[in-house]
């Protein structure tokens, strides 16, 4: 009966450990999310986003005011260390706030809006990169998303039976907390953590493969131009409807933030933009949502990018400085 004894021993150990899991989870999450100086998930990990959102929803008040950065790899700081990315630089400039770099490679405005909607009560200020209205189809499996949004953004709907079973299984704390524990302990999902360590060994042996691009840390001359569109007049209802029609997701995001009396800066990194795009439209948009939401234009000289899009460390520092509230 040795197998029986082993199985029973394993079950007893799990049962004995289970009451301590919530306490352990609170400790590691607080350490990970509240004490970090330049928080971001390693490897721009989509799957670690769920635990961060769950934590913020569980703990709507932090020790410091919270600022969340949302966007794609430019905001994440691809090729840069966490402290060198825009959110990391911003954290250094504003140590009185807790900055979360929640940007994920490929995230568009639709994804940022849905994430913002899930955490708006727990955040004081958002910095969001402007993009298309698309949302990552997996989001509904990772964060709470309303049924109407699942349909509107064409997300993959979680299986209702599976979701029901999962909620029933959450009586087992270790099962319920497994992703949150992984994210808090490793600062990313376990697979990203192992991959990151293995990658470090690989680079030590053979320094090859994708790595911070040449020039990512090189100093450069020039300045980042910041454009703030302002209008002295409040737009009429008709004008508001017109702007809303032009960019529904942008408008919904602004409505969400202003309805909760939070603050948001939407960053427009040059390039062609569809929807609300002319100077007059942007000025009217900002006037409609002042003082809660503002679209800010950033023109970044090529010298501050190491490829066609991604910022150098110097570029990220200058952008962070330009974002002073």
């Amino acid at each position: 009966m040795r197998p029986a004894r082993r199985l029973i021993f394993a079950l007893v150990c799990l049962a004995a450990l289970d009451p301590f899991v919530p306490v352990m989870q609170r400790r590691v999450e607080r350490h990970r999310y509240e004490d970090a100086l330049a928080f971001r998930f390693e490897g721009s990990d989509l799957f670690a986003l769920g635990p961060l959102v769950a934590y913020l929803r569980d703990q709507p008040r932090g020790e410091r005011p919270r600022t969340v950065f949302l966007g794609n790899s430019v905001m994440f700081g691809y090729g840069l260390d966490a402290a060198e990315a825009i959110p990391g630089r911003f954290q250094q400039l504003h140590p009185d706030t807790q900055v979360f770099n929640a940007a994920i490679n490929g995230f568009e405005m639709g994804s940022s809006y849905l994430v913002s909607k899930a955490i708006v009560d727990a955040v004081d200020r958002f910095y969001v990169m402007r993009g298309t209205a698309a949302a990552n189809p997996l989001l509904a499996s990772l964060i709470p998303v309303e049924e109407a949004d699942v349909r509107a953004f064409h997300l993959q709907s979680p299986n209702p039976v599976e979701a029901r079973l999962q909620s029933m299984a959450e009586i087992w704390h270790l099962y319920a907390s497994t992703y949150r524990l992984q994210a808090a302990i490793f600062g990313t999902s376990t697979r990203q953590y192992i991959h990151g360590r293995a990658d470090a060994v690989r680079r030590a042996i053979a320094p090859d493969g994708p790595q911070p691009a040449i020039g990512a840390h090189a100093p450069a001359d020039g300045a980042i131009a910041v454009t703030r569109w302002r209008s002295a007049t409040i737009p009429t209802d008709e004008r508001r409807s017109e702007l809303r029609r032009q960019d529904q997701v942008l408008w919904q995001f602004a409505e969400l933030v202003s309805a909760h009396r939070k603050r948001a800066v939407i960053l427009q990194f040059g390039g062609a933009v569809t929807g609300v795009s002319s100077e007059t439209e942007l000025a009217d948009f900002n006037a409609a949502f002042a003082p809660f939401v503002e679209v800010v234009g950033l023109t970044i000289p090529p010298a501050f990018k190491y490829d066609s899009r991604h910022l150098t460390a110097e570029g990220a520092r200058l952008v962070a400085e330009a974002l002073r509230p």
Binding site: M1, P3, A4, R6, L7, G43, N159, V161, E162, L165, Q166, A169, T190, R191, Q192, I194, H195, A198, D199, R202, A206, D208, G209, P210
Partner: protein, 384 residues
């Protein structure tokens, strides 16, 4: 799919029923819960699978056997072509299930095995519940292994509840989970660097990552299937036996996806060889073997997907096996008997060469046709 809570709940219910009902009802119990599982994950195709099962049951008659065989092969071809049109490769099983009935590649080979063996007289008239259990057995439905009807039926009827089985099955499932989550999924992150590959060294890293990812991923599913079956006291055939330590390509195919290798050996390679022996090629056994290998592995490639990349992969392995066979057949006895040829050093060299050839063979598997050309060029220092 077999790692979801839905499956686990179904499996527990199935296990309780399986050991609670009289022994004679066990196949029907497995069939019922298997059908529930199939309906839950691929409901739209349940009717097709049921219809094929009924046809297979009546495959003792020549006309029905030929009709069933043609239908199974035709459907397999249709679904593979449909998947190819939607550009579904080996790396996208979840999307593929939308277009291909759940585990249809495995199911089709299992049904063909029953049809052929019935015609050969090696399987007597099967009991319908046994056949349903064979078709719908949930743990092996998604990713094999490819079962054999007599072995499976014997295992079901002889299944006994024991703590040893539960323990061994649980451990096997956990080993599979660990392989999948901690090794295969981590390697997948390195494989995902493929579009950014710019140098030969990086291309080799990505290729090696894929070589191990596909092994750990596939063998993980086999471990989970075997583990769950073991909990029910049912032994499934093994599918992998340290394939990357094979000293030659023939041995590799005796260790890699063993149940598929055995299937194509029995139903493609040997019949093809026998057929060729009845032709003028009779005097050229090496040529017969070479043609049989190539034909067999073209079938293996097509079984994975009817795309140029999979067919190329099949052809590559067919040619390798044919070349190995010819080398062995034409090797002078003095070399074959030489102590160096039989030494451990020679074995080690054989393992290294076989591994390298197999790894290069994975290139078409991991990417599109264009991507494969680019990656091959980079691997051998000819591209950027």
């Amino acid at each position: 799919m077999i790692l979801t809570l839905r499956f686990i709940v179904l499996f527990v219910l199935c296990g309780i029923c399986f050991f609670s009902v009289p022994r004679a009802w066990r196949p029907l119990t497995l069939a019922f819960w298997g059908a529930v599982f199939y309906a839950m994950f691929a409901g739209a195709f349940l009717a097709i699978v049921l219809a094929l099962t009924v046809l297979t049951y009546f495959a003792g008659r020549r006309v029905v056997a030929w009709t069933t065989g043609a239908l199974v092969v035709g459907l397999l071809y249709y679904f593979k072509v449909r998947a190819a049109v939607f550009d579904i490769g080996a790396g996208a099983p979840s999307s593929a299930t939308i277009l291909i009935p759940l585990g249809f590649s495995y199911l089709s080979f299992e049904l063909l095995h029953v049809v052929i063996e019935r015609r050969r007289g090696r399987i007597p008239v099967p009991s319908f519940p046994d056949l349903l259990a064979f078709v719908f057995f949930a743990p092996a439905r998604v990713a094999g292994p490819i079962k054999r009807y007599p072995d499976f039926t014997g295992a079901v009827h002889g299944a006994e509840w024991s703590m040893d089985n539960l323990y061994a099955g649980t451990i096997r499932v956990m080993v599979g989970l660990a392989k999948k989550l901690f090794i295969a999924d981590v390697l997948a992150l390195t494989v995902a660097e493929r579009p950014d590959v710019r140098s030969a060294a990086h291309a080799w890293v990505v290729l090696l990552a894929f070589t191990f990812q596909i092994y750990f991923d596939f063998s993980a599913y086999t471990d989970v299937a075997i583990g769950f079956s073991r909990m029910l006291g049912i032994t499934l055939p093994e599918n992998f036996r340290r394939p990357y330590l094979a000293p030659n390509i023939r041995e590799f195919w005796n260790r890699w996806h063993i149940t598929l290798s055995m299937w194509v050996r029995d139903y493609v390679f040997l019949p093809a060889g026998r057929g060729l022996f009845r032709t003028r090629l009779r005097a050229l056994p090496t040529v017969i073997a070479a043609i049989s290998y190539v034909v067999t592995f073209l079938v293996v490639g097509a079984w994975h997907g009817i795309t140029a990349a999979f067919l190329l992969w099949g052809l590559y392995h067919g040619v390798l096996l044919a070349a190995y066979h010819a080398m062995r057949a034409k090797m002078p006895p003095s070399i074959a008997a030489h102590p160096l040829y039989r030494s451990r050093a020679a074995d080690a060299c054989g393992v290294a060469v076989t591994f390298l050839l197999v790894a290069i063979g994975w290139v078409p598997f991991m990417t599109s046709w264009d991507g494969a050309s680019r990656l091959l060029a980079l691997l051998f220092g000819a591209g950027r």
